[in-house]
């Protein structure tokens, strides 16, 4: 179980997060939705310690990881896939994946790279290409695959659909859905593309100006027309 | 307006602070030019000199001032010259002419020296000759053999040379080589300034047709002379004549070995001290060869000599220097070297000039004294000085020697000559001068 409680953060005088609370359950996809600037990315960055929290806590399976150094989070089983397809462009596909497996959650077995290539056959075909040669969709596969190499229990995904063709988005979301079941993952999916996100999510959290304005099962949110118009843009 | 005012205040503050700071550290009133000579009191004479205490020319040369200072202390303890004690200011110029200009400025304006004595180096001293002569400051016994100190007393009336100039040294070397090694293919290794130029001028009088290659170096520049030695090698040079400072003797030897260039070597007196060069060579070669073995690397090299050195411990002059050094060296552990002997020999000449000048000492009188009496000064030099109203050139001759086991063995008697096409003649007369028993010139 992954829980965020009363989490707040600020950039200088500007409050970016203001008392955000939600929980994400194991084996489920929790979508964090909201307009541009609502604080979605800041939420993930604060959880990872890239942005310092001013208040509140983050718990992973009952352990407080609020002030844990960013570098140590992978050993707790937390994987953060950053926005903008954070591949390391100068490294090859295999090197990116190897890097992902270097710092695993404590006590876990190394993940064979071949397992990732089974999940993403496309990556297997391009294993020796440097990452900057990959297409957008391939990069997204690579960062997810790289995160999986650390055998995480919680996967934080930041805007995986950004800039991808709808067909590719659907493909990636399908894969994600499958992974949640086979790997017993807790997924926190930050998305601006609310419609696609809700289509695979179990639960949804809507942020506006750094505050939670709604938290409900995905189907419920998708059905709330007013909410959709006000915050989700569809 | 307020900005203007503030700006003005800022600027004025900066200036005032600067001048105040400067005043407390360096503030001395300008010297009174009238009456007694600057730098001379009834009990003291203050002289100054620039030496390369650091930089590529420092090995060896930096020891010269300690020779001066030891001899002056010896003289001072015996009551000084006409009741005046000699004080010497030594400033480092790192063999960089621009620094020479700066430190000379300091010595003239801040230390207020009476005279420059033994300022070292051709390119360095050249930078301040004009200045010293313009200001009427005696510039005595320059530690360099360039012609310019003495060949034109009209433009530089205050400047005097001391050691044999490079042109006569080049002539003697040239004649020796032409007579004894007429088939040698000669390469010249020259410092790229008047030092190398004067030496080349002398050598070419006899060797013009034998010289097949000329290579130059810049002091303070690269220390790798492989390209120069490669050039000698490819041109078939089998005798190198070097007008260079001691470090460059060592570096040229290393580079020659590095490119497999084998040759006879003939270094000008300036760059040939076996003890120093041998020590440098030993420290640069494989492992830890003791300095004595480094000295062996110098065996068979030829050079010239114009004052007795440490390899002649029985010479009366060297005995005197040893006695002075043993009692007056600042650090007892340091040995007497040829460079210290050089310094003491120069100091001897300066004391001689002061003695001859008499009690009434002015900047003009010392110059006059040396012009009138300098040619008859008896000292350690193997040949007499050429000082007169028409020439301020120093010692007039050298002998050619070969280095064996760190000592020099004469190959010729003392050969005396002058610049231009003056003939080269044997003259051992000055070589038999002996020091007075007090060790202080009368």
């Amino acid at each position: 179980m992954f829980a965020v409680e009363d989490l707040s953060a600020a950039y200088g005088p500007v409050k970016a997060l203001n008392g955000v609370t939600f929980t994400a359950s194991r084996g489920q996809v929790t979508a964090v939705l909201g307009a541009n600037g609502a604080g979605k990315t800041t939420l993930l960055r604060t959880v990872s310690g890239l942005v310092r929290s001013t208040r509140g806590s983050v718990q992973l399976d009952g352990k407080d990881i609020t002030r844990t150094a960013t570098e140590k989070l992978t050993s707790y089983g937390l994987a953060h896939v950053p926005e903008g397809r954070g591949v390391i462009a100068e490294l090859t596909v295999v090197e990116n994946l190897r890097l992902g497996g270097l710092h695993r959650s404590t006590g876990s077995e190394p993940m064979p790279i071949e397992r990732i290539f089974e999940l993403f056959p496309r990556l297997g075909e391009r294993r020796d290409a440097t990452a900057h040669q990959l297409s957008g969709g391939e990069r997204q596969m690579l960062v997810i695959g790289r995160a999986l190499m650390a055998r995480p229990s919680v996967l934080l995904l930041d805007e995986p659909s950004l800039g991808l063709a709808p067909r590719v988005v659907a493909q990636i979301f399908d894969l994600l859905r499958g992974l949640v079941q086979t790997e017993e993952l807790t997924v926190v999916l930050v998305e601006q593309n609310a419609r696609s996100a809700l289509s695979i999510a179990d639960h949804g959290v809507v942020l506006n100006l750094g505050k939670v304005v709604a938290s409900a099962p995905a189907a419920e949110l998708a059905a709330d027309e007013q909410l959709r118009h006000a915050y989700l843009g569809f | 307006m307020r900005t203007t005012a503030r700006r003005a205040v800022q600027v004025v503050c900066v200036l005032t602070t600067a001048s105040l700071l400067a005043a407390c550290g360096a503030g001395k009133e300008r010297p009174s030019e009238e009456g007694t000579a600057v730098g001379v009191t009834d009990t003291t004479i203050k002289v100054g000199a620039h030496f390369p205490l650091t930089g590529p020319a420092a090995p060896g040369y930096s020891e010269i001032p300690s020779g001066h200072q030891a001899f002056y202390e010896y003289v001072n303890d015996a009551g000084g010259v006409h009741g005046r004690k000699i004080e010497m200011v030594v400033k480092d110029d790192a063999y960089n002419p621009t620094n020479t200009s700066a430190v000379t400025n300091d010595m003239i304006l801040q230390d207020e020296i009476f005279a420059m004595v033994a300022g070292l180096g051709t390119p360095t001293h050249r930078a301040v000759v004009q200045r010293l002569n313009d200001d009427g400051i005696p510039d005595l016994f320059v530690s360099s053999g360039s012609l310019q100190w003495g060949d034109n007393p009209e433009t530089s009336p205050m400047t005097f040379g001391w050691q044999p100039d490079y042109e006569i040294e080049g002539k003697v070397i040239g004649q020796y080589v032409a007579e004894n090694m007429p088939d040698a293919k000669v390469g010249l290794f020259l410092q790229d300034d008047d030092f190398g130029e004067d030496g080349e001028k002398g050598a070419r009088q006899f060797l013009d047709s034998q010289i097949v290659d000329v290579q130059k170096y810049t002091p303070g520049g690269s220390t790798d002379f492989s390209p120069q030695m490669s050039s000698f090698k490819s041109k078939g040079v089998d005798l190198v004549i070097g007008f260079n400072t001691p470090s460059y003797t060592a570096l040229s030897q290393i580079a020659a070995q590095g490119v497999g260039f084998k040759s006879k070597w003939f270094y000008s007196n300036v760059g040939s001290d076996p003890a120093l060069v041998g020590g440098l060579l030993a420290s640069m070669t494989k492992g830890k060869i003791p300095a004595e073995q480094g000295v062996k690397l110098m065996d068979g090299m030829m050079t010239t000599e114009y004052i007795p050195g440490v390899d002649a411990p029985d010479d009366e002059w060297v005995k005197l220097w040893q006695k002075v050094w043993d009692s007056y060296s600042k650090k007892g552990s340091e040995k007497l070297t040829n460079y210290r002997i050089y310094g003491m020999s120069q100091a001897y000449t300066f004391v001689q000039a002061l003695q001859a000048n008499g009690k009434d000492l002015t900047r003009e009188s010392i110059v006059e004294t040396i012009e009138k009496e300098g040619a008859s000064f008896e000292g350690p030099g193997l040949a007499p000085f050429r000082f007169s109203e028409d020439s301020h050139m120093g010692i007039s001759g050298v002998s050619v020697v070969e280095i064996k086991n760190g000592a020099s063995e004469p190959l010729t008697p003392v050969l005396v000559t002058d610049i231009g096409d003056a003939p080269i003649e044997e003259d051992d007369s000055a070589a038999s001068d002996a020091p007075p028993s007090s060790g202080i010139p009368e």
């Binding site: 960013t70 591949v87 490294l91 | 220390t223 790798d224 492989s226 490669s230 490819s234 590095g258 420290s283």
Partner: protein, 292 residues
């Protein structure tokens, strides 16, 4: 012909040293996007440490290792204490900072060890190798120089290509934030990068000093020549640095041998400007064009 051969061999040895030095600059550039103008002074300091040991009768190779260790420590300390605050800040700051460091190290060495020229021994002969009656313009020490640089180069290739540590270091250099998210201790990797670079610089210093005179300014030409060699190779590429070093070494050796030593810096400047203006990403850069 003989002279050409000798000059070429001399150029290769010189180039090997430039290559080692450029490699050090490249390592630092890769890890922190800083050109370390103090690299030469750092190498000079470690060489003096080795000289002090050698003069105290410590065997040459022990002193050699000590110089490398000293370089490693010096690099790490400098990164941690001095460079860390300007990482990722305006480029000008790092440039000025490393230039200041250059002057400080220079002066402190001069004060501590003195400014006089001192002979520095070579571990093997510096006499030309004889072939029959004649000899060729390379010495055992020259060959040793080339071998040592090749070993260092190979070691770095192995480290970066085939080890996890090397992978971490590269990742940290290319993208610090992503690397942190993947569990890489980026700060440590940057420190390690500087330490390794300074160790490589220390090796270069020992190779330059061998069989020569040293003084606190003896590495000064490398401030510019090392930089030019690294830029020739593209700053980012270790292999490029080595090739850049060799090209520069050969060029300067020919210039010195056939025209005159004083023109060497001018030719170097010409090479640098041509590369920067015509092929800004260096002769061998694989990555996209860089902004110069």
């Amino acid at each position: 012909m003989q002279q050409f051969l000798d000059t070429t061999l001399g150029g290769l040895v010189l180039g090997a040293v430039y290559a080692a030095f450029a490699l050090a600059l490249c390592l630092i550039w890769r890890s922190t996007r800083i050109v370390n103008f103090a690299q030469a002074a750092m190498a000079m300091v470690t060489t003096y440490i080795a000289l002090t040991l050698i003069n105290a009768d410590v065997p040459y190779w022990v002193a050699f290792v000590a110089a490398i260790a000293a370089g490693f420590g010096l690099g790490a300390v400098i990164e941690r204490v001095i460079i860390r605050p300007v990482e990722g800040k305006a480029e000008l700051n790092a440039v000025i900072l490393t230039l200041g460091l250059f002057m400080v190290l220079h002066g402190l060495t001069a004060i501590t060890f003195g400014v006089q020229h001192r002979g520095f021994p070579a571990p093997v002969s510096t006499n030309a190798i004889a072939v029959g009656d004649s000899s060729i313009g390379i010495t055992p020490f020259g060959i040793l120089t080339i071998v040592v640089v090749a070993v260092v180069m190979a070691g770095l290739v192995v480290l970066f290509r085939f080890t996890d540590l090397g992978l971490r270091m590269r990742a940290a250099a290319f993208n610090g934030e992503v690397s942190r998210l993947l569990g890489v201790r980026v700060g440590r990797m940057l420190t390690l990068g500087w330490a390794l670079a300074a160790a490589v610089g220390a090796v270069a210093g020992m190779l330059i000093a061998g069989g020569d005179l040293v003084n606190p300014a003896f590495m000064d030409p490398f401030v510019i020549y090392g930089f030019i060699a690294a830029v020739l190779g593209g700053l980012d590429s270790p292999l490029g640095s080595v090739i850049g070093g060799l090209i520069l070494g050969l060029s300067l050796s020919y210039v010195t041998g056939y025209i005159g030593e004083h023109l060497a810096p001018l030719v170097a400047l010409g090479i640098l400007m041509v590369v920067l203006l015509v092929r800004p990403s260096g002769l061998f850069a694989a990555a996209a064009a860089r902004r110069v």
